[in-house]
């Protein structure tokens, strides 16, 4: 479970480590595109133009990257403590639902109260959702990968139940809650685009995370516990308490990602709420090697793929699914060590 532990080293090493899985995945997807009768260079050129070609496209990319920065951060925070939280997808669901619930029930409140309460609701819901897996891991050593994975399915089904029953918008046939009050919506930064204040929240949290990891005692302890739990315990750190704390923090950030999606993009909670933000977040955290800058760049890449993938489907006959293929392969290549042990041994000798 230590595949994502970052190693301090020279500058080119993390850069190469980040670029290599991308290039490998793009090469594999290129073969697939060629077989399907497309020119991969044309497709990638179009993807680049559609994601970074104009101010409008850049804002769209940033908007798509926002939830991924948060889910990537949520996973990185847990990774750092040596906990593999696969359950962020579930947190996105419960957090999004909680934020939307506050947003469409307490409509009498002014924006200055309603928006913060909605966001707070998502933080509480997300962290409570991770309480059971966190405590089970810390107290009984129950494998958190299995419990958090199971919790995803539970969250998705429970949310579907609530949206189809008690919380279904009156007069609505499709499974969705009522729209949240205008006062609960995250303000848009560049009006026609969906880029919203959630982006600023994500950037602020990434900066805080970078500072926290380097300068705060808890950040150091977490890193220590992640690298070597027995050594951390011997130095007087209570690893179980730390594990629970980091799981709650991870859940809270995952919940916030749901709130940003609900209050910034969708305006309510619907079934099939998240397009796998929690799972893409794993790829983001892995590729970003748990660093704040790395998470930002990796989220930007996946955001670009998602937004450009949707538009190239309109202009060409390349299916958008190529994006999922690239994403899955990036995950695989990010943890595969092609000749690296051999290379490391050579550098060492």
């Amino acid at each position: 479970m230590t595949g994502a532990a970052s190693q301090p080293g020279s500058l080119w090493q993390p850069a190469a480590a980040m670029a290599a899985p991308f290039l490998a995945a793009l090469a594999m997807a290129g073969v697939l595109l060629t077989v399907a009768g497309h020119n991969p260079f044309d497709v990638y050129g179009l993807l680049a133009v559609e994601s970074f070609g104009s101010v409008k496209r850049i804002t769209a990319t940033l908007a798509a990257a926002t939830p991924l920065m948060l889910t990537g951060l949520a996973i990185a925070v847990a990774f750092r403590a040596g906990v593999f939280n696969v359950g962020v997808e579930g947190c996105v669901y419960v957090g999004g639902l909680a934020a939307a619930f506050v947003g469409f029930t307490c409509t009498a409140l002014p924006a200055a109260v309603l928006l913060p309460s909605s966001l707070a609701a998502s933080l509480v819901a997300g962290s409570l959702w991770m309480l059971i897996p966190g405590v089970l891991k810390a107290r009984l050593g129950v494998d958190e990968v299995v419990t958090t994975l199971m919790f995803n399915f539970i969250a998705i089904s429970l949310a579907a139940y609530l949206v189809n029953g008690p919380l279904l918008a009156p007069g609505s046939a499709n499974s969705a809650t009522p729209m949240v009050a205008e006062a609960a919506r995250l303000p848009r930064l560049a009006p026609p685009s969906t880029l919203n204040a959630g982006f600023l929240i994500a950037i602020a949290l990434l900066v805080l995370y970078g500072l926290w990891g380097r300068h705060a005692a808890l950040g150091f302890e977490t890193r220590l516990a992640g690298l070597n739990a027995r050594f951390a315990a011997a130095s007087g750190i209570s690893v179980p308490v730390l594990v629970v704390k980091m799981m709650l923090l991870s859940g809270a950030i995952g919940g916030l990602a749901g709130a940003v999606h609900a209050l910034g993009n969708v305006g309510r909670f619907v079934t099939g709420f998240s397009p796998g933000y929690g799972f893409t977040g794993i790829a983001v955290a892995l590729l970003g090697r748990n660093s704040a800058v790395g998470i930002f760049l990796a989220a930007l890449f996946f955001g670009a793929l998602a937004t450009a993938g949707a538009t190239i489907q309109l202009f060409s006959d390349v299916p958008i699914e190529i994006v999922s293929v690239v994403q899955g392969m990036v995950m695989i290549f990010a943890v595969a060590q092609f000749g690296w042990p051999w290379l490391r041994r050579r550098i060492a000798s």
Binding site: L32, V142, F153, G165, V325, M331, A336
Partner: protein
């Protein structure tokens, strides 16, 4: 009505049982297979296409098994030879294969998510003459296809294989004590690869069962997370083939009841969470028991 539920429960158990038995052997050899669902999906698609073009269900099953096995082999190589984390590779396969399947459907058939082909050879049903007319017993034993019978036959075979055969013992050594296995001249990585290929074969068959055994069409959501239910089943069964099969049967029963209860005021979404809740409860109980035993012993 009870006969219908029993029949549907047996039907819905088969795909989970097949994948779970494969994942169980995989786990015993030392690899937790998170990618079972992707192998089921590939098996479901390949099975349907071959069933339509050859008109032969046996060829379709073989092709589906090969598709799952190839994916299992690739996944295993990434884990055993490139030291990749099994959980991340498994999730990566889940995402990549889902994308590949939809990419293929759009590119080759111009359809989004669903594939319906003419002349699909479906699995035959075996009706046992006298037994079929007995209530309950008839629903349990009669009217099922060969793959269901094969899946249940695999349960005692897996017990026997793991406990009594040379390869079974070697697989257990590769998972339980890889260093010792290597010292004895075995190749734990190769054994692990073989077990993952086997898990892929079984999951591929489970997937084909969904497409040509149950409905006769393919849909991108056809597995409905059954690969993860299979994972839940062998975790629940704690590596025992019989408890795992029992758990698969329980999940099949939930599946059947849920279809029955639709529109009767019982929220089906709540029923859907039960398998997953059960796994968390059982893992907790097991960890608690281990802790208590240790506290007594020490």
């Amino acid at each position: 009505m009870i006969d219908h539920v029993i029949h549907a429960a047996v039907l819905m158990t088969t795909p989970v049982l097949l994948a779970a038995l494969g994942g169980l052997v995989n786990r015993i050899a030392g690899l937790v297979n998170i990618g079972l669902d992707s192998m089921m999906l590939a098996g479901a698609l390949v099975g349907l296409i071959v069933a339509a073009y050859t008109g032969n269900w046996m060829a379709a099953l073989a092709a589906a098994a090969v598709a799952g096995g190839v994916l299992g082999f690739l996944m295993s190589l990434a884990i055993t030879r490139l030291n990749a984390n099994e959980i991340i590779v498994g999730l990566g396969f889940t995402i990549a294969v889902a994308g590949l399947v939809r990419f293929f459907l759009k590119s080759a058939y111009g359809s989004s998510g669903t594939l319906s082909l003419p002349d699909v050879a479906q699995l035959p049903r075996i009706t046992i003459p006298v037994v079929a007319d007995i209530p309950v017993v008839g629903a349990v034993l009669s009217g099922h296809d060969p793959l269901t019978w094969a899946a249940w036959l695999m349960v005692p075979l897996t017990v026997w294989f793991l406990a009594r055969t040379r390869t079974g013992l070697r697989l257990r050594a590769a998972g339980g004590a890889p260093q010792a296995a290597r010292a004895l001249g075995l190749d734990p990585l190769a054994l692990r690869d073989a077990s993952t290929v086997y898990a892929g074969l079984m999951a591929g068959l489970g997937g084909a069962y969904l497409s040509i055994g149950v409905v006769g069409i393919f849909n991108e959501g056809i597995t409905a997370g059954r690969g993860f239910i299979a994972l839940a089943a062998f975790y629940f069964g704690n590596n025992g083939p019989w408890p795992t099969a029992l758990c698969a049967l329980l999940f099949g029963l939930f599946d059947a009841l849920q279809i029955r209860l639709q529109g009767h005021g019982v929220p089906t979404e709540i029923v859907q969470t039960l398998p997953y809740v059960m796994v968390v409860v059982v893992l907790t109980a097991m960890a608690h028991a281990v802790r208590r035993r240790r506290a007594k012993g020490g």
